[in-house]
């Protein structure tokens, strides 16, 4: 855009009720005027009930799992029973003749996993090499799920085993069997992920990646008055959405319709187009409702590829929904990590050196990083980062709510807490001292620490290990940070019919975050209507492009485009209605279902009546998400990363039984920012969810594999422990309203920041309770007792 495409505007910025001041921004011409604080708006900033709540409480909401089409077939997948092997032969002939079977397909290529940089490193094989137990091999479509399952039993697979390794400690040894025979690359998906290209690889160790390193680490430690070191370990966590991954594929006459449980309908369409060499216009991906995703549901994946092949072969729609074991094993997880973290600080708390030597284990996938927090959260002149991905013969990792960062913050925020303890500085005062970049998240956290300390009763915090008896209580806090991301290619369309009906379209989806509702609120605000007057349409790849529901980026990307489209529609209507009201168009405002002259409520017409009398038939307005007013620090593909991040501060109170090793989280306080909260109630729900998942990660969840066979030992819900009602602590949420003066709505996301700090806050509370650090997750009795025994 040329320079005259911008104009200088003075806009309010800051935390509402705390420190709002005027700033000057270069704003693209034609941007709507800045909104005032939420208190002065009609619909935005209000707790409008979730628009799809009625469908959900009555069972009417239709998930992919519920799609039933005429002649639809049911598919089941055949998965490898060994962790590492060449497949010498596959015989499907008996399965094909089994009663009810309509199609069988053997997978030619495996998605999600790392690929050899030089395919010549491996002799070419008729079938993909098996690299983990549970790897999908083939699938059968039949007239019933039971018939499909019976047919799977008839497929013969001949394996030629290759030595395997499932445990991190074994995989890093130079004598370990390699998971891949040569260096690999990992492609990114729409959900992010992927790994830096071209890194060295030796055996199962891929790396190091050193991004964020700077200064001279040795000098940093020399200048330090104290040095704190720790070795932090985090476990593999599986996403476990309550609705498993699933697809209904309907291929007819070279046109493909895909119903998908997904976080991004566009990625489903695009991946299918690539694999099946179809033009994108021939594919339609639909997702009315998705029963949870948390980072793992993008594209068509291996199971979707199988379902599409089967549909094409059988000439009928095919439904393939994973069972719970497949869901745990083969479609993603949060990688485990080992982080050796060493921090040097001066007596006053200022940091002189941060050294991180870390490993992440994403099974057969690379991209198991530990986030950007170590090098970017707190200013420090000397930083040394060395990270390695470690391959094992286990299911591939995928993005998972706050990928990398959740693991990284667990280590970093404990280390900062430890430095503070060594220096005798209060943990909050320590952060006040070091959390000083010039960015919105920093200003937000400063306010959040203050508010949180007050609300949580921080002043009553006692010295570590104060309780004399075996039951020890303590409180702790930790800080969150997650990039504020804006997705390119976000377009909203508003259609207004002559009878006053308003329809809003965007090819994003609502996976339970409340996207439909915030979309409607923003449009309603511009048109002076109620949210329920706006019919929102999402979850269809035929709509204008929309962002993936991942990376906490839907609200930040979608709402400015939605507002701009609705604003253009409103101005269009105003110009047509102006002659009727005998008032200049720019003095007409939209309020409470009426169009009226500003300051003169008598010169007014009802919305629908005004449209009718102006002779409007249909108005269509589209707007794209424009760049943030201050631009971006970085662009990576469709991701635009702001120099301002999203903050958040969480407080925890725990109770540790030092005899049994049982830990209970009794109370949490989560103080968060997400720019302008469009719907505080829904934001609160997101934060509650982030905290509950964080408690679950900290205390219970742990994927366990049998080293001899690679079989997951706890691949169902009764064995893989997740927080239930009994373990849910009392959780209080406090939200601040931060106006960044960056876009026409100034909204940001919150799903990830709400999850990132929880485990660290609990761990710091554990230290305050017991006087001992818990370096290993989850805080099971065994890990807790080991921590209590440690010197």
């Amino acid at each position: 855009m040329s320079a005259d495409a911008f104009e200088q505007r003075s806009l309010p910025a800051g935390i509402v009720g705390d420190a709002v001041k005027q700033v000057t921004r270069n704003v693209p011409r034609g941007e709507p005027p800045a909104w005032p604080a939420n208190a002065e708006l009609q619909v935005v900033g209000k707790d409008v009930p979730r628009m799809d709540a009625l469908d959900k409480v009555t069972g009417r909401a239709r998930y992919t799992f519920d799609v039933q089409l005429p002649r639809m077939l049911y598919a089941r997948t055949l998965n490898s029973t060994v962790p590492h092997a060449r497949i010498k032969s596959i015989d499907t002939s008996r399965a094909e003749k089994s009663p009810g079977v309509r199609a069988v397909h053997v997978l030619e290529r495996l998605l999600m996993i790392a690929e050899l940089r030089d395919p010549g490193d491996e002799a070419s094989e008729p079938y993909p090499i098996v690299r983990f137990t549970g790897q999908p091999i083939a699938a059968v479509a039949a007239t019933s799920a039971r018939a499909a399952e019976a047919a799977l039993e008839l497929i013969r697979v001949e394996y030629e085993p290759i030595p395997h390794v499932t445990e991190f400690e074994d995989a890093i040894q130079s004598s370990s069997p390699p998971v891949f025979p040569g260096p690999t690359e990992q492609r990114a998906t729409a959900g992010g992920g992927g790994a830096a290209q071209g890194l060295p690889q030796k055996g199962n160790l891929r790396g190091p990646s050193t991004g964020g390193s700077r200064g001279e680490i040795e000098r940093g430690f020399k200048e330090a008055d104290v040095v704190v070191e720790g070795e932090y370990r985090t476990q593999v966590q599986t996403h476990t959405p309550l609705e498993p991954h699933g697809i209904v594929a309907d291929w007819r006459d070279e046109e493909l319709t895909i119903y998908a449980s997904t976080q991004h309908v566009m990625s489903v369409r695009d991946e299918a187009a690539e694999i099946f060499k179809l033009p994108k216009e021939k594919i339609r991906a639909i997702s009315d409702y998705t029963g949870g995703g948390f980072g793992a549901k993008y594209g068509v994946g291996n199971y979707g590829t199988l379902a599409i092949h089967l549909s094409r072969k059988a000439g009928a729609p095919v439904r393939l929904v994973l069972d719970r074991r497949e869901e745990h094993v083969s479609v993603g997880n949060r990688p485990s990590t080992l982080q050796r973290l060493k921090i040097g600080a001066k007596r006053d708390g200022s940091l002189t050196a941060i050294e991180l030597h870390s490993f992440g284990t994403g099974g057969v996938a690379a991209g198991a990083g530990v986030g950007m927090c170590h090098h970017s959260m707190y200013p420090c002149p000397n930083v040394s980062i060395e990270h390695y991905d470690v391959f094992t013969n286990a299911g591939p990792c995928a993005a998972f709510r706050g990928p990398g960062q959740t693991q990284g913050i667990f280590a970093l925020e404990q280390a900062i807490d430890a430095v503070a303890a060594r220096l005798g500085i209060d943990p909050i005062a320590m952060r006040d001292k070091i959390d000083t970049r010039d960015a919105d998240d920093v200003r937000a956290r400063a306010a959040e620490r203050r508010i949180g300390a007050e609300k949580f009763g921080w002043s009553r915090r006692r010295a570590p290990g104060s309780d004399a008896g075996p039951i020890k209580r303590g409180i702790g806090m930790a800080q969150s940070m997650w990039p504020y991301i804006v997705n390119s290619y976000t377009t909203c369309e508003i259609r207004i019919a002559g009878d006053g009906t308003v329809d809003a379209f965007c090819g994003t989806q609502d996976i339970g975050t409340g996207t439909r509702t915030v979309f409607a609120q923003v449009v309603a605000e511009e048109l002076g209507l109620r949210a329920e007057d706006v019919r929102v349409h999402v979850g269809d790849s035929r709509f204008p492009p929309g962002p993936p529901s991942g990376g906490s980026r839907v609200t930040s990307s979608l709402t400015p485009a939605a507002r701009n489209a609705a604003h253009a529609a409103a101005r269009d209507i105003a110009s047509r209605v102006a002659p009727l009201l005998k008032a200049p168009a720019d003095e007409l405002i939209f309020k409470k279902g009426h169009i009226e002259r500003r300051g003169d409520s008598k010169t007014s017409l009802g919305f629908a009546e005004a449209l009718r009398r102006a002779g409007i038939e249909t108005l269509v307005h589209r707007a794209d998400r424009r760049d943030d007013y201050e631009g971006y620090a970085r662009k990576a593909g469709e991701l635009n990363i702001s120099p301002h991040a999203i903050g958040g501060v969480q407080f925890a109170e725990v109770c540790v039984d030092t005899q049994t090793g049982a830990v209970k989280v009794e109370r949490m306080l989560a103080v968060h920012d997400c720019g302008r909260p469009i719907n505080p109630k829904l934001v609160e729900s997101q934060i509650l969810g982030g905290v509950v998942q964080g408690v679950s990660y900290a205390l219970y969840e742990d994927r366990r594999l049998d080293a001899a066979t690679g079989v997951q030992l706890n691949a169902n819900i009764d064995q893989y422990k997740i927080v239930g009602s009994r373990e849910t602590p009392q959780i209080e949420v406090h939200l601040i309203e931060l106006i960044g003066a960056q876009s026409s709505t100034d909204a940001r996301g919150v799903a990830e920041p709400a999850n990132v700090a929880t485990a660290a806050a609990i761990a710091n509370a554990f230290f305050n309770a017991t006087g001992k650090r818990i370096y290993t997750l989850p805080m099971t009795p065994a890990n807790v007792l080991a921590a209590l025994r440690a010197e």
Binding site: A53, R60, L242, L682, S725, T728
Partner: protein, 179 residues
Amino acid sequence: MSVATQHPPGREQLGTFSPEPQPLSLLINGEVRTALADPATTLVEFLRDALGLTGTKIGCDRGACSACTVWIDGEVAASCMTLALDVRERNITTIEGLSRAGELHPVQQAFIEHDALQCGFCTPGMVMSCAQLVNRNPDCTLDDVKTAISGHLCRCGTYPNIFKATLAAAAASRKGKTK
């Protein structure tokens, strides 16, 4: 709760059954519904696949998540752990039958008001357990609510709002009764 006005044929009328699918009639939401089922068909499969009542979900298919909760004679049950043939002559209520003549159960209403749902996949099961609790014990406490849904999994973490919603529904139904 409404009492069945008409019962499907009892066991004696069906006689012995073969492993092949045969017509099965169940009393569901006050109506006799008939479809083919073999003896291995679970109640949730019968509801979803045979009758298209897809409001009842499956999260684990082994009694561990309660997404499939329905009422059998007014008591909550996991329909994935119940064989369809075993509930002939019983009165089954699913999420589709909870609201009467378009009027939501107070628990459904409260779930909406308190945003006790996110992705919504666990919601039908949660609603069935919480509604049964409120019907049975309008004086229920927070602890009672926690117990009532202790077998349910919500991966989105809606528990705190479910507690609030259910207690609010109980309070509303107490008020409704004293009036």
